[in-house]
């Protein structure tokens, strides 16, 4: 061993003088199912961290290697406090001493967390060593008030054409992703994370993916994908897997929000994906029932709405005085057989600033992403939409709405006039244009280009089945022959008159070069 280190230890031991510590304690009277009932701890606070004295009666040698068992207070009763044990519940015994820490549950946070996988307590679980702590932040905090916030005015591009055009998301917004299982909810969230890689480094949001109650294999696959695509360079993954205690699953989204707030308070932008809050609600229900809190609708406790609202209210766009950082939330809710009127979905719909509804029928019709444009809405995002996107997106929403009406009518009518037929055909082409393969987010300027081509009438002569080929060729053409148009759109974030004429000329030239794609 290093002689300097030995000397340092020797000095420390020589200077050691036993000190006296007066602590508040309690005694475990009952324990089971991850819950411990404690007598004593007279001045305990809500969400106070408590430490179970598992080293009592153990020799010093054994006590040194003992991982402490930690819990936090959730019920304050007349004679008892009920705590939730975070890990190592099997080591709790009746009569065990419990020490109050006088601190509410907090987690270590630091910039070094980027690129790492952590558990609900902020501890690394990816085997890449310890994370240097910059500060500790309480896991629960009151959301910023009206004065501390500013309006949502900066777009957060998802790289998904249908979303960026019709359900735009702004930085600081809370946009719910809702749908049945297997409809691509996680895929949308992950594409959004992947797309942030194309943002300039100085404005790129730090992404936090919170996996709640998911299979470890799925999380491993997601982390692998993010790593492979280079997205872990700006992403933190918080995991409370299916095999973790309900308490950890309950804490995980709050941990994600706390990490996000750390970056927001530094003036940076952050994006948190809560995947998913249905499982979070189930974990909280389990804990509440074990804590013997009265069950309400669907056996959820009465404060389930408050649980989600206080979590999602922490998303904000801060005022310039506070650094102008933002925390965007993309909560995910899994519905059962498309029922959006169930308890938890309606709660979260009413809390968030809009929702992206994924439809099983559309998914089965190979419309991917399976976004139901009629049921999806963004209440604040349009204020953050870029001028370029706003210019083209208004038209596509209208065209698609007309198409959906006519499509329903078409099922009954056999003889249609030419104008109606053309509208239906155009609607089909536009729907086809909005299709996007999983894991391939588009850059902002290419999204605008594709939609502009769609609404300007260029696609009118293209066969529906050739739409994907058309889009590929169009992008290739612009990359090689009209990169300047894309570049100026990317810089200006608008389609100026000058730009538009260049765009029209480039599109006309594309049409003449690839005339084989156009039937008329």
């Amino acid at each position: 061993m290093n002689t300097i280190l030995i000397e340092k230890i020797r000095k420390e031991i020589e200077a050691l003088e036993p000190t006296t510590k007066v602590e508040r304690i309690g005694t475990v009277v009952k324990a089971g199912d991850g819950i411990a009932e404690i007598e004593g701890l007279k001045d305990a606070m809500m969400a106070e961290m408590v430490v179970f004295e598992t080293t009592e009666g153990k020799a010093l040698k054994d006590a040194l290697d003992h991982e402490p068992v930690v819990g936090f207070v959730l019920n304050l009763e007349e004679d008892f406090v009920k705590t939730v044990i975070l890990s190592g519940a099997e080591r709790i015994r009746e009569g065990m001493v419990v020490r109050g820490t006088g601190k509410t549950l907090s987690i270590p946070v630091s910039s070094a967390m980027v690129g790492r996988v952590v558990n609900a307590l902020g501890e690394p679980i990816d085997g890449k060593g310890a994370i240097k702590e910059e500060s500790r932040l309480p896991i629960e905090r009151i959301a910023f008030g009206v004065i501390d916030r500013s309006g949502v005015d900066t777009p957060l591009h998802t790289g998904i054409k249908a979303i960026d055009a019709m359900v735009p998301i702004g930085r600081g917004q809370r946009e719910l992703i809702i749908g049945d299982r297997g409809t691509g909810k996680t895929a949308i969230a992950l594409d959004t994370i992947l797309n942030q890689g194309s943002e300039p480094k100085e404005t790129r949001p730090i992404c936090i993916y919170v996996a709640i109650g998911q299979k470890e294999s799925k999380v491993a696959r997601i982390v692998g994908d993010l790593e492979e695509r280079g997205a872990m360079a700006y992403t933190i993954v918080v995991v409370a897997g299916a095999s973790d205690p309900a308490a950890m699953q309950y804490l995980a989204p709050f941990t994600g929000a706390t990490i996000g707030e750390f970056f927001m308070l530094k003036g940076q932008d952050a994006l948190v994906v809560y995947d998913d809050l249905s499982k979070h609600a189930v974990a909280y229900r389990q804990m509440s029932l074990l804590l013997r809190r009265p069950p309400g609708r669907e056996a959820y406790p009465g404060d389930i709405f408050y649980l989600h609202s206080r979590l999602l209210e922490r998303s904000a766009k801060l005022s310039a005085k506070l650094g102008g950082g933002s925390l965007t939330a993309l909560p995910i809710i899994e519905t059962q057989q498309g029922d959006v009127s169930a308890y938890i979905p309606t709660n979260v719909i009413s809390i968030t600033d809009g929702q992206i509804y994924l439809d099983t029928d559309l998914f089965n019709k190979d419309m991917r992403p399976a976004i139901n444009v009629g049921l999806s809405v963004s209440r604040v995002g349009s204020a953050a939409q870029t001028k370029a996107m706003k210019k083209v997106a208004g038209k596509i929403r209208l065209e698609l709405a007309q198409f959906r009406e006519l499509e329903a009518f078409m099922q009954f009518a056999s003889d249609l006039d030419k104008e109606t037929k053309d509208r239906i055909e155009k609607g089909r082409r536009l729907s086809e244009l909005l299709k996007q393969p999983n894991g391939h987010p588009s850059s902002f300027e290419k999204e605008v280009l594709a939609i502009y081509a769609g609404v300007s009438g260029l696609i009118d002569g293209v066969k529906v089945e050739d739409m994907r080929l058309f889009e590929t060729k169009l992008m290739e053409y612009f990359d090689h022959h009209a990169a300047g148009v894309l570049e100026s759109m990317r810089k200006e974030r608008a389609i100026s008159d000058e730009n538009e004429s260049e765009l029209k000329a480039a599109l006309a030239s594309f049409k003449s070069v690839h005339h084989e794609l156009f039937i008329a």
Binding site: K8, I9, E12, I13, L16, E17, P18, T19, T20, K21, V22, E23, R24, I25, G26, T27, E39, G40, L41, K42, T55, G57, K58, A59, L60, A63, L64, V97, R99
Partner: protein, 132 residues
């Protein structure tokens, strides 16, 4: 309904009662339990009462833990000090315990307070300071 809940109610009702009054309370308690159809819980209630009494006894106890019998007298003054400082309950009854694992020093424990001046705690803290 649990036997422990009935036992707690009964224990509360019996506080400060003399023998005659206690008899009346018990008779009334029996009527209540019968009216609720919970007479099946009666055999378990005495055991629960014993637990409550043991707990109350433990609450009054203040334990002085030392590493060996020799140091007990040495640390008695610490116990007296905290008693005078009213950190310990006024009706506290002292109980002496020997626990070799604390290595040295002492610990004074009541229901909701721990005065820890053990060498074991100091050494664990030193270990954590060096290794973290």
């Amino acid at each position: 309904m649990k036997a422990s809940w009935y036992a707690e109610a009964l224990a509360g009702a019996l506080v400060g009662k003399n023998e005659k009054e206690a008899e009346k309370v018990v008779a009334r308690f029996y009527e209540v339990i019968k009216a609720h159809g919970h007479t099946g819980l009666l055999p378990f209630i005495p055991a629960e009462l014993e637990k409550i009494e043991a707990r109350a006894q433990a609450h009054r106890e203040a334990t002085l833990v030392t590493a060996d019998a020799k140091s007990r007298t040495k640390w008695s003054h610490a116990y007296d000090h905290y008693y005078r400082e009213t950190l310990l309950p006024l009706d506290a009854t002292r109980k002496d315990v020997i626990d070799e694992t604390i290595i040295g020093g002492y610990q004074i424990r009541t229901k909701d307070l721990l005065v820890d001046s053990s060498y074991k705690r100091s050494l664990i803290e030193l270990y954590q300071k060096i290794t973290n």
